[in-house]
Subunit: 156 residues, 2 copies
């Protein structure tokens, strides 16, 4: 769910803004207007991956371990929104009970072709995020237009 | 929904395979193992856009109007999976009732920044599909590996 990515990014920006203070998950939950349990789940993932130092739990608190420029946006996307493991439910195809003799060449092969297409498209999508760091995101928050301008520059 | 794209693509391949026959939506539904109503909805969209000629309805039938090479895969993707109009439900942010004075600079600005980021990423994602036609897809169905090979060629 894309929201997990937004929560991770927002939390990291908040912790960066409040360096070197130790921030509780309760304070973060209030600031992001979110359920503390959801915040704690995502902080726990970021903590495991070394983005944060601190202690988990009700009286715990977190600080950033790295600079924003050292945090790749694509890494955070992959961490919070893992790639789809199977595209089966998005693809037409023969039923499981049908024998291959009953199938046309298209029906028998479309699943593999569309899986390849969706998989490569998703890898390219993720490559877009991997071009940026959290410092780029902070730049856009301070002065909107960084991502749009960059797209316009590449098109021209 | 990604399934709509798969259904459109599969239908076009089936009609191409059976040129110059007129194919009923019932026959297509049987071949794709899908509900005839869903098939008819998607055929109606393809018909409106000029991909098909024929008559809608129970006793209707369809034929392809264009060659597969003239059908852009990105156009079909945009037609069957329109871009997300609002990313609001994927983005953290202040509640509607909170006045701007209560917000931090991050909370006040993160929605616009993440909307730009997601929007540009989605445009790049769609640009990937726009590189191909239905003839490329047919090529991969006949000999799997076209999309994967192309990605490998670009990376090397």
């Amino acid at each position: 769910m894309k929201l997990d990515f937004s929560v991770a990014v927002h939390s990291l920006l908040y912790l960066d803004e409040h360096r070197p203070n130790k921030i509780s998950s309760r304070e973060l939950a209030q600031s992001l207007h979110l359920n503390p349990v959801m915040i704690r789940n995502i902080l726990s993932i970021l903590h495991k991956q070394g983005y944060l130092v601190g202690t988990v739990g009700k009286n715990g608190g977190y600080q950033l371990e790295q600079s924003l420029a050292a945090m790749n946006l694509g890494d955070l996307y992959d961490l919070t929104i893992p790639p789809t493991l199977s595209y089966a439910r998005f693809i037409t195809g023969p039923s499981q009970t049908e024998t291959s003799a009953d199938q046309s060449a298209i029906a028998a092969n479309i699943s593999e072709t569309l899986t390849d297409l969706f998989t490569v498209a998703d890898r390219e999508y993720r490559a877009y995020y991997h071009q940026f760091t959290m410092a780029d995101l902070k730049r856009d928050i301070q002065h909107h237009g960084y991502f749009l301008q960059r797209e316009a520059d590449l098109d021209s």
